[in-house]
Each structure stands twice: as C-alpha cells, then as structure tokens.
Symmetry: C2
Subunit: 170 residues, 2 copies
C-alpha cells in the first residue's frame, strides 16, 4: 500500500474543483442579494499586479490539466481562456474535471522518475515526475484555487473553512 | 517506485515553510522601506471575519505538525500561539520544520490505511491516513500558507510566483 501518482493527483483535483463549483454558487447568491453584477467579482484582484478572479480559475484549471497530461505523456486539450461569465467559468471547471478523470490511472501511475519537460518563461525545465507533481503542479493548483477563495472572501461571499475543504468522508 | 506517506508530506512542508521564511524577509524589507511597523502586517486580514496573518502562520504550522504527529502516532509538541513579532513567527516556522524533520520516515510510511482520529468542533472524526493527509492536512496547510502569501501581496510586499514556488531543482 502506498500512494500512487494518480491517487496523489486526480482525486485531489476533482475534489477541490468540485468545492470551487460550490463557492461559485455562493458567489452568485451573494451578488444577487447585494444586487451587483457577478462580472465585478470576476474582475476582482487582491493587488493591482495580481491576476483577476477569472485568470485564477483558468490557471488553476490548467495546473490540473497540464499536470495530468504531462505525466501521462498526452497532449492536453486546448481551452481558449475566453470565459467572461460565471457560467462559462463553471463550464471550464467541469471540462477540467472531465479531462483529468478521462485519463486512465495506469497512464499516470509509475511516472515518479519520468523526465517531464515544462515550458517556462526562461526556457524549458526538465524535472522528474514526483517533484514535478508535488512541488510544481500541486503547489500551483492550490495557489490559484486558494487565491480564488481568498478573492471571494475578501469580497464578502459567505464562505468558511468547511466550504474550502468540502465534506470529509469518514 | 511510488510515493510514500512521508515523501508526500514532510518534504512539501519543509519546502513551503522555507519559502514562507523568505516571504517574511521581503515583508520586513517592505515595512522598513515604507516606514511602517511589521505589527501592521501581522494584524492584517483579508476580511473582517478571517483570521489575521499571525494566526494564518500559526495554524499553517500546526497543520504540518499535527499531520505528521497523528500519522506517526506521536503526541505533537505544544506551541503556545503567543507570537507577537516577525522574529517569533520565524522561530515558530523553524520549530515546525525541525519537528517534522525529526520524525523518522519509517514511522509515517505505511499509514495509508491507518485510522486517524482528528478532534473537530463537532466531535472527533475518524478517517484513513491517506485521505486524511491528502484532503485534510495538505489542503489545510496550503490554505493557510497561501492566505499568508495573499495577505502580504495585498499589502504591497514585492512577491511573485517564483517566491511562492521556490527554486525548482531540475
């Protein structure tokens, strides 16, 4: 019994992206109750030189999508980054969940020592599968999902830690 | 080759807590340059009903400490939650790094199916080691560390994604 590369990644993405969908429902309810357009939330930032809410969602989804695709040796599906509404962001999240679930576990498992090439601003980085997943993909994924949560909290959406974590099955 | 419970947890804590120490250095430099007391940062919040920066650090450290202790079946060392300065927060982070590194890997490995009892507000939760680590400990840890980062960014500290992720060895 040990954790596989699939079990360390896909179930975490699916769970947190599902939680994120529930936060969007609360965000929509908050905007309706306070009578402002949800586009205000989508454009919101924690600092002028940070990415807005929409980009946090897009990049968080891409962390999961590219993480799974690169480990599995697949070309990731292209998503256009053209979401402008909450419903379009929901669709982006659902497409991402569907994609990461569509990749067979066997294609992700056993990639701990595989060389993964990651395109970066300063040229491609080659890194083994396990540190790639733990220190790059998961950190990036949690960064963007948590920043999205922080933006909603900062804007008054009624969320708490149990929304962040989701229900824990015993 | 697969990921062990130890390799999925301790190296991630040590790495991100080390990154957090570097963010504190930038926070201190920012406060000095702008001539405000760092206690302002320590008391800052993203929303009136969110915990302040000091608590985010304390609870983030505790997520790592209790995660390791519960998996290993050890009593966690008690930290008093009495930090009031940046230097005291640094010491808290370093104590946490030292503690999680002090627990032998063999005591954490193999705990995937172990029943872990987690005290929670509504009574103790019993959960298997692997979901405990992935969906409770890591999510909580990333939540508080990322919220601390968000607070610093929101307050103008000069940080970027490479500070968040830290250097990636190839």
């Amino acid at each position: 019994m040990s954790i596989s590369m699939h079990s360390a990644s896909v179930p975490v993405f699916v769970r947190m992206l599902g939680n994120l969908l529930a936060w969007l429902d609360k965000a929509e309810a908050h905007a309706a109750a306070r009578k402002f357009d949800t586009s205000v939330l989508l454009a919101s930032r924690l600092a002028p030189d940070m990415l807005n809410f929409t980009k946090q969602i897009q990049i968080g989804c891409d962390a999961a999508k590219f993480g799974v695709a690169r480990l599995a040796g697949l070309e990731a599906p292209k998503f256009e980054d053209n979401e402008t509404t909450l419903d379009e962001l929901r669709a982006r999240i659902k497409k991402t969940i569907d994609y990461v679930q569509s990749v067979p576990a066997a294609q992700i498992d056993g990639t701990e020592d595989k060389d993964i090439t990651v395109p970066r601003r300063d040229g491609p980085m080659v890194i083994k599968g396990e540190p790639y997943l733990k220190h790059f993909v998961m950190a990036n994924f949690y960064f963007h999902v948590t920043t999205a949560y922080a933006l909603l909290r900062h804007n008054g959406v009624d969320l708490g830690k149990s929304d962040y974590l989701g229900a824990l099955k015993q």
